[in-house]
């Protein structure tokens, strides 16, 4: 279990988290979402150890040992690597630090990455694949993936997701990913955590969330239901409600199931409207 307890964090005077708590059981695949700037990437960085809480603790599973970073695979949205190194030098550096003789470069060979190319010459997608390849070679127990998969092309995205799925199947790795667009990964997600102003606004298993968030098409706001956000059209209005409770007294309404992207958009739309 990854446990965050009473965590405080700020950038200078700007507080991002105060008294933040979160537990993630081993092997769970979580989606972290929320509006831009809410602290998704910051939370991943804190767990990855590249940022440090001002107060509070982050306790890693015992299986990760005394140096958890050895078992954490972190792909940041900045795709931070030594850009002036060649691909071969970057891989050798990574191997040196982690004490590996070599890495399985199967993924890199899939793409058109040359060993002699400088990292800065790689496209965003190629850099993501290079980083993923290096991380997978570590056999991580905790995978932290920031919003990188939108910026890569469909082919590389497919490779990325296939490798991710294979890793999850092989090793029941814990995954925490920050994302705003989910149609690729919806089938993987087990739990959705929505952040709002440094706190957890929603924390539900995905199936529960799908049962609780519905779109209601109706001429007027449905009475007795909490509306997250709404959209008006000339002929109808759409109301996104949470939690949805079946109410037989409501007439002339249509209840529509939502996919994960629509659910998150409903929450985020509500935040922007507020």
């Amino acid at each position: 279990m990854l446990s965050i307890r009473d965590m405080h964090f700020s950038y200078g005077k700007r507080s991002v988290y105060s008294d933040f708590n979160l537990d993630i059981p081993a092997g769970q695949i979580c989606l972290l979402t929320g509006i831009n700037g809410v602290g998704k990437s910051t939370l991943l960085r804190l767990i990855a150890g590249v940022l440090r809480p001002k107060k509070g603790t982050i306790v890693y599973p015992e299986t990760m040992g005394d140096e958890p970073r050895r078992k954490i695979g972190f792909i940041s949205d900045q795709l931070s690597l030594y850009e002036s190194l060649t691909v071969n030098q970057a891989i050798r550096f990574h191997c040196d630090v982690f004490g590996l003789d070599r890495i399985d470069d199967r993924l890199i060979r899939h793409t058109k990455i040359e060993g002699g190319q400088r990292v800065k010459e790689l496209s965003t997608g190629q850099r993501t694949i290079l980083h993923l390849n290096m991380i997978l070679s570590l056999d991580p127990e905790l995978l932290l993936i920031d919003e990188v998969i939108h910026s890569i092309d469909a082919y590389l995205r497919r490779i990325f997701l296939e490798e991710l799925i294979a890793l999850i199947a092989r090793k029941r790795v814990t995954v925490l990913m920050a994302n705003l667009n989910f149609h690729d990964i919806e089938a993987l997600i087990e739990r959705v955590i929505l952040l709002k102003s440094g706190t957890i606004a929603v924390d539900e298993p995905i199936e529960t969330l799908k049962e609780k968030v519905k779109k209601i098409i109706a001429p007027a706001p449905p009475a007795g239901l909490t509306i997250l956000s709404q959209r008006a059209f000339p002929d109808r209005s759409e109301f996104y409600v949470y939690p949805y409770v079946e109410n037989t007294s409501l007439r002339d309404i249509e209840v529509v199931d939502l996919n994960l992207t629509e659910i998150v958009a409903a929450f985020i739309g509500g935040e922007y409207a507020a």
């Binding site: 590249v50 140096e67 970073r69 931070s80 030594y82 630090v97």
Partner: protein, 243 residues
């Protein structure tokens, strides 16, 4: 990691060694134009001295250059390596090359082992290293190092004078007292600030992590400047009277 840092240090050395082009240029300039009668060995010695001093400052000031230029600080901090090991891996190869340069300079210059030169080079290197995290531009970093070096040069006789006035030493020409005091007053707070920043180094804008510099290094630097402004004139007057 050590291999990468050694390669990085060698790259900095290569950049500094470009200065040696000035040796044949200076020689031919003298022979063809100005006819000062400079010997090749003298030109070599002077240019090499400048190169060694420049490398000391540049190697220190560029300690975190790769991370800043490549935006690789986040990657570096995500690796299972402690902050102290990161700093040691960066300082070790640079110090080794600096020691080698000092050896070459001492031997070729016929100075045997010039320990005071080594102390000066180490002072320059560590001051530069202390500034490396705080200052983004290497050029400004190197200028900052030479500003601190100038401050050190003025503060060491000033502090010797103060120690002499206070009766702590019997002779105003005991330069080691002033050197040590100036070294401690200038390098100490900067080094402490650097180590504190490194100990808590995080992947966030460095300007948000500079508090130890404002709290330790800046006040101490201002005190040294104050002492220079207040007592350096008296020191010069005392020296004039003694001569």
């Amino acid at each position: 990691m050590l291999r990468k840092e050694f390669r990085d240090a060698l790259r900095r050395l290569a950049e500094c060694l470009v200065l040696l082009v000035a040796v044949p240029l200076g020689y031919f300039w003298d022979r063809a134009l100005v006819h000062f009668g400079w010997r090749f060995a003298d030109i070599w010695s002077a240019v090499f001295a400048v190169t060694v001093f420049l490398f000391a400052a540049y190697a220190g000031a560029s300690l975190f250059l790769a991370e800043k230029k490549d935006r690789a600080l986040e990657y570096l901090l995500s690796l299972p390596v402690s902050r102290s090991k990161i700093v040691l891996a960066k300082i070790g190869p640079r110090l080794a090359i600096l020691a080698g340069l000092w050896g070459v300079f001492s031997v070729l210059g016929g100075r045997a082992w010039d320990w005071s030169l080594l102390v000066l080079l180490l002072f320059l290197f560590f001051v530069a290293a202390s500034l490396s995290i705080a200052i983004d531009s290497v050029v400004i970093g190197v200028l900052g190092v030479f500003l601190l070096f100038a401050t050190f040069s003025l503060s060491s006789p000033t502090l010797t004078f103060i120690a002499w006035k206070l009766g702590l030493i019997s002779s105003i020409s005991s330069v080691w007292i002033g050197w040590t005091a100036a070294g401690v007053l200038i390098l100490g707070p900067f080094a402490a600030a650097f180590l504190l920043v490194i100990r808590n180094l995080q992947a966030m804008p460095l300007r948000l992590q500079m508090r130890p510099y404002y709290r330790l290094a800046l006040p101490s630097f201002l005190v040294v400047i104050f002492l220079i402004l207040k007592f350096f004139g008296d020191y010069l007057a005392a020296m004039k009277r003694m001569n």
